[in-house]
């Protein structure tokens, strides 16, 4: 199948040392005893899934979680080798693994790099002790610096730092310090997320019963603007709502989601997408294991996108990235008030959100597609 769109492979690892209060990912603490079975299942699933992707070039692999680095490096190496064996993974494919500062040291990192994981995404979240505590992160600010230095020494040049802003009690000054510390480490890539309260999390329940204040959207807006300013000045390009990169270090895998390129799903709860069809694996690790061990693809559900769904997705995903959407996708004049108020700019036939527009993306999407 030549000429097919290149794809990404997403592998989900649902294990964590502890659960953080804000996290609503498919992740579990205390299931480490399933790790080796889980790796075996991933290897098997790759075999089961691969035939339908024959001839599709894979340009990115992303191991997310959970905390993938809770797995043994030998297993991670075997996994990547299996993916290369089953899929047409490009030699220069971007291969990312997520890591928690406390689960890696220089030796482990060196072996990961050697195994082929060339991009590291590190969950730093904050350099402020009290913010880390509010997020229920177990690591300390020093661990981030240590882990980052270790990654450098191990030879990683493509490291992302994940940051979260707007937790209860975080002031603008704290966020400014965190940004400053992150920039000082000079990572290739920075993701900065406004803390979002998900109802089905411990933090969500605390907010619902008033034990913890909900994030102040105005304060988060201010922090967003601060990130835009400081990261921009430090030479990072703002290429997606929550993502900044040094030129050439934009995350190719994640761009695939926003550009609606196909992606393969492996692991419990992982979502796959191809040609207007999206499917997702069963979420509970035990169910996932049982299904794969029976030799079945562990698909838990799927949807076929109607043209209207696809249109809405295309608009809200593409507006997240700098390339924006073609003007021709929008009914005449709908964009006008947003262009006038500085939320959108016209750029060579494209409608591109400004930084202020990115902050109000839901409004833009609703206004442009209504």
């Amino acid at each position: 199948m030549t000429g097919a769109e290149p794809a990404g492979v997403y592998v989900h690892v649902p294990f964590c040392l502890t659960r953080c209060g804000y996290c609503d990912f498919n992740a579990y603490a205390g299931l480490d005893h399933l790790a080796s079975r889980y790796v075996a299942a991933l290897l098997r699933e790759a075999e089961l899934a691969a035939p339908t992707w024959e001839g599709v070039e894979v340009v990115s692999v992303f191991l997310g979680g959970g905390t993938p680095t809770t797995l043994e490096v030998a297993d991670l190496k075997a996994l990547l080798a299996r993916l290369r064996q089953e899929f047409s993974v490009a030699p220069d494919a971007e291969v990312t693994i997520e890591a928690n500062p406390d689960t890696v040291d220089e030796a482990k990192l060196a072996r990961l790099l050697e195994a082929g994981y060339r991009r590291l995404s590190m969950g730093a979240q904050s350099f402020d002790r009290s913010v880390l505590a509010a997020l229920e992160r177990i690591h300390q600010p020093e661990s981030v610096r240590k882990a980052f230095d270790a990654a450098r020494r191990a030879g990683f040049d493509n490291v992302n730092l994940d940051l979260i802003y707007g937790a209860a009690g975080e002031a603008v000054e704290s966020w400014e310090r965190t940004l400053g510390e992150a920039i000082a480490l000079a990572p290739a890539h920075v993701s900065a997320y406004a803390l979002t309260i998900e109802p089905a999390t411990p933090l969500g329940r605390q907010v619902a019963r008033g034990a913890v204040p909900a994030p102040d959207p105005d304060l988060q807006a201010e922090m967003f603007e601060m990130a835009c300013g400081m990261l921009g000045e430090a030479g990072y390009g703002h290429y997606e709502v929550s993502n900044w990169a040094k030129p050439g270090y934009e995350c190719r895998h994640n761009l695939g989601y926003w550009e609606r390129r196909p992606y393969v799903a492996l692991g419990a709860g992982a979502h796959g997408y191809r040609d207007g069809r999206r499917w997702w694996n069963v979420r509970p690790p035990e169910e996932y294991l049982a299904s794969v061990e029976r030799g079945e693809l562990p698909v838990g559900g799927f949807e076929e996108l109607e043209p209207a769904d696809a249109y809405l997705e295309e608009v809200f995903l593409r507006l997240r990235i700098l390339q924006g959407i073609p003007s021709s996708w929008v009914d005449d004049g709908r964009e006008e008030p947003y262009v006038e108020s500085g939320l959108l700019v016209r750029d060579d036939g494209q409608l591109v959100p400004t930084e202020r527009g990115m902050l109000l993306l839901n409004e833009l999407v609703l206004g442009l597609t209504a």
């Binding site: 807006a221 709502v241 809405l312 995903l317 997240r320 409004e363």
Partner: protein, 599 residues
Amino acid sequence: MDVDRIRNFCIVAHIDHGKSTLAERLLELTHAVEGRDMRAQYLDRMDLERERGITIKAQAVRLTHDGYELNLIDTPGHVDFTYEVSRSLAACEGAVLLVDAAQGLEAQTLANFHLARDAGLAIVPALNKIDLPAAEPDVRAKELADLLDVDADDILRVSAKTGEGVEELLRAVIAQVPAPGGDLDAPLRALVFDSMFDAYRGVITYVRVTDGRLVPRARIRFMATGVESEAEEPGVMAPEALPVDALGAGEVGYLVTGLKDVHEAKVGDTITTAGKGGATEPLPGYREPKPMVWSGLFPNEGGDYSELRDALDRLKLSDSALSYEPETSQALGFGFRVGFLGLLHMDIVKERLEREFDLELIATAPNVEFHVIRADETVVVHNPAEMPVAGTYDRIEEPVVDATIITPKEHLGAVLDLCQSRRGELIDTNFLTPERAEVHYVLPLAEIVFDFFDQLKSKTRGYASLDYEPWGYQEANMVRVDVLLHGEPVDAFSTIVHRDKAYAYGKQMVERLRELIPRQLFDVAIQAAIGSKVIARETVKAKRKDVLAKCYGGDITRKRKLLETQKKGKARMRKVGRVDVPQDAFIAALRVDEGAKKK
């Protein structure tokens, strides 16, 4: 039946003083209804009435006792229906004045007593609920005796609940209420004292024949409306409908009119024979029903204007006091400006529309009818939107009422304070007993419409009672307060208030709206203004952040559905200029004086 052996009477009582229980007991005593067939409160027919414990529709029941024909005519018990009460009283020669032996006289009772006495009715005073531990029959008897200028020993003592004293009461009615007069040979004249619509039989009127005879299949004419029809079926309620050969002078009964619209057979009208045998002079006292309170009714979101119109048209068939005209609101769309006899009537109509016709409605704040006086004309305004611009008229007059409030002495101060704060003018204060005072005030109706009754109840721990009657118009310094969103007036929020209260009203509205209007992409100014002068202002700050922070492969489906939900929510909003206003915000903002309607 010999006219000398007919007694037509009613019971005048306050809500909860036991009128319906007494009526039941009378039905039982006269064997009109067996005990176990007794529906609770037999005379109150509609579910709604039963739930509210009030009687909207007057009816008449024939009882026989001791060779006498006793027609018990039920009277509405609410200030909104004073005219209907007066017509019921006009059908009687006597009234039982029934007073709770624990609670004593209330304003409503007093008002209706005055109506009954002015109508020349014989008054049979009785204390009810003498079985209650809290009853103070001696104190209450003295109170009543003073009012009626009779001996306290002449006040009957009854327990409708146990039946004690009911037989004596019946005997007193026979002895003290005069027999009706009337000339059987004169041309027919029958007073319509109630009119209702029955889905199967059309319009049924309750009538008191004053002269002549009403016989089946006679050609009849309604003298006020000029409508003619055939008298399909005269009858009496005993207590179920029983057709009769004739209703003669002095008798009370019902008539199936053959009409299909209650507006053709109005309360207070006189029925006579069509053609040259008919009477020339109608019975006195007819009045067109006159709305006192107006409110805009609009279908709620997605609601259908034509459904509302059909429902009002249907309701009007059975409610001759209901009037309405189409109204267009920029904010609320197509609806109706509806006139009501009063707040209770408004509440009943709204509830019937919602309950019987399954409609969801938005009602604008109720207002009264203002007269705007210009050099050579008077403009009648019952919609704030119609109020002319200040400076284009000489003065505004507003309706005032003569209000009677009865309150325990310890709350008298609070009542006087309330009335003063509502621009009241004290007429006098009398003590009915050393413990209870009767206060007369001239009050603007607009003030009563604005949560007065709730305030009265809360300031007197529920003990005060209120009655009022129209007292004409007087000059008042009224202004229209507009509410503007982002510079755009929202017609649904405009109201006419006294200048001294404009600021408080405006401030309350803008503060309330600040909580209700969601943040938009721009600062939204919420202003209250008199003409071009802004008197209160709040701002809903522009929304700065509305974005999903993370959106990766596993998030897309969920986020798309979230956006679809938001999209539907946005579609349900109403646009005022550039501002999106949720439907709920209108309802909540208009709830400012919700309490006023509860009674």
